[in-house]
């Protein structure tokens, strides 16, 4: 045999492609229900959470960062869940070019980014900071010395 028959190869590709597209169609039409796409597309993007705090922060430079969720900040040592890391990444994405420094509390302003807004005062006290402006019902706040 010098090469495979074109007709056989084409038939095999056609069958595999049909299976592949069926899987893609299932994912894009059913797993991600196509009927709720218009509503989903109108939902606010995650970074909307930081729209107002962005105006209150300095335009660039270092800003301390604290949270009520553990953050995976060392390679190879994962936090029990990804909430804290996800919140940090989301805030950093929204607020660049400000650099959010995890655990830093000596900057003039510190960003508190919480999963549970009810823990704001507790988190501030733990870091010897006082609560300044609150955003998003207190789940995002600026803390000061």
């Amino acid at each position: 045999m010098i090469s495979v028959p074109l007709r056989g190869a084409a038939l095999a590709v056609a069958i595999l492609a049909a299976v592949g597209f069926a899987r893609e169609a299932w994912f894009h039409l059913v797993s991600e229900p196509i009927w709720n796409l218009p509503a989903r597309a109108r939902e606010p993007r995650p970074e909307e959470r930081y729209r107002t705090v962005r105006v209150a922060l300095p335009p660039a430079g270092r800003v301390g960062y604290v949270s009520d969720e553990p953050i995976s900040d060392v390679a190879g040592a994962l936090a029990p869940d990804e909430w804290g890391t996800w919140l940090y990444q989301e805030a950093q994405y929204a607020l660049a070019p400000v650099v959010l420094v995890v655990g830093e509390t000596s900057t003039p302003v510190v960003l508190a980014n919480l999963k549970d807004a009810g823990r704001l005062e507790e988190i501030a006290r733990a870091h010897h900071l006082r609560v300044g402006r609150r955003f998003e019902g207190g789940s995002v706040a600026l803390l000061h010395r």
């Binding site: 090469s3 084409a10 994962l78 890391t85 660049a96």
Partner: protein, 475 residues
Amino acid sequence: MTAILAAAAVALSGAAVASFVPMRRPARVALAALFGLGIWSAAWSAALFLSGNTPRTLLVKDALIVAVSAAVLLWRRDGRDSVGTPAEPVEVPRWPRVAAMAACVLATAFFVEHTLRYPDGGWDAWAIWNLRARFLARAGAGFRVAFSPEILFWAHQDYPLLVPGVVAQGFLLAAAQPVWVSAAISYLFAALTVAVLAAGVGELRGPPWSSLSALALLATPAFVGLAANQQADIPVGAYLVAACVLVAAGIESGRRAHFAVAGAAASLAAWTKNEGALHLLCLGFALLAVRWAPTRQRLRAALSYGCAALPVLALLAYFKLEVARANDLLSNPSPARLLEVHRWGDLFVALARRAAFFQTWGLWLLAGIAVLVLIVPRLPPRASARTVGVALALSFATTLAVYLLQPHPLDWFFRASIDRVLIQLWPSALLATVLALAPVRGGSQSAEGAGNPSAGEAVLATGVSPSPQASAKVR
């Protein structure tokens, strides 16, 4: 005006590089667009590091690119090798072309659906690539803050800048950071991956195979999903398949210019993601190690390949040594992990399961393994397929070693990354498969079955480069 100059810089620089490879128009156009984007981005990064991020940086850089590219194109106009389109030996069936076009429409619809749902892309897109693009576009003269070690290591500050460079320049041209910029760029790279694969296969094996290869790539669930998630692995795959097409064309034509341009393509893969540097090395090694020509000819090919990669590699070296901090995956490598038998066991079990992972691969990986085991050994060895195949196998094997060495939990890290590693290699694996299965373009094969090998085919099967005398004229 700035946008027009930028478009001219992309078009002319790509055309200038593509003018060095004598290929048919579809392959040349696809390669030119891919090279244009890469050069546009790499040149901006170089300009940032050299002269800082001022409002004039983009403008001056694009003006320089246009001037140099126009000069190269004028110089190449007389010496350019034209490749006509010879008549095909038999009438080719039309349905693969129609099916491939329908597949493009379907894949585009799926891409748009997912993008409307997640306009910022997947985790890596917004946590790494688009984050870096925002830093570069927003920070102005203080752009080096994008690589601050104080940002959490998940942002992978050491990752090269090809994709953030394109997106950030898009932001600067738009004078804002709309989400459609990064989504459109991701779509463009995905479309160019399909175009380069199809045009390259068409160049080397003829029209029905080009449509079939495009159909196979578009019908791979992971491809559309990862493209819609704006992952940089799609551009890595695009530059790698471009390099593989050019290496295969160089081996089958004996023209050294192909190897040089392949080196440039592979270097752009290295400037896209760290894995790209590995692919560059493995392809260069395969070019030397696989016996597709006498040693002297292979050495000259590898030299051309390496020299053309040098400019972008110099940029990468500067970035790694002066700008970026250490890679987290290799920050605490432990050779002892290589000796842990249970890690090897876990890895191979995970690999076997992934081969049959229907959600992201359909039946394609199983089919690929079946072809490799059952059909390829019965065919005469083709030097181009062997070279690309050895390079891909080497890249994959080395990546597996990284899985064992890296510090994260193996199962978690494997599940989070293996599809992206595989999608980098997949377009080139499809290319290698077609190169192995199909006769060279112009060789005789009917739609019913394989014919006798042509003279060139017989020579290629022995692993000796064809027509060295004829090739020498165009070197």
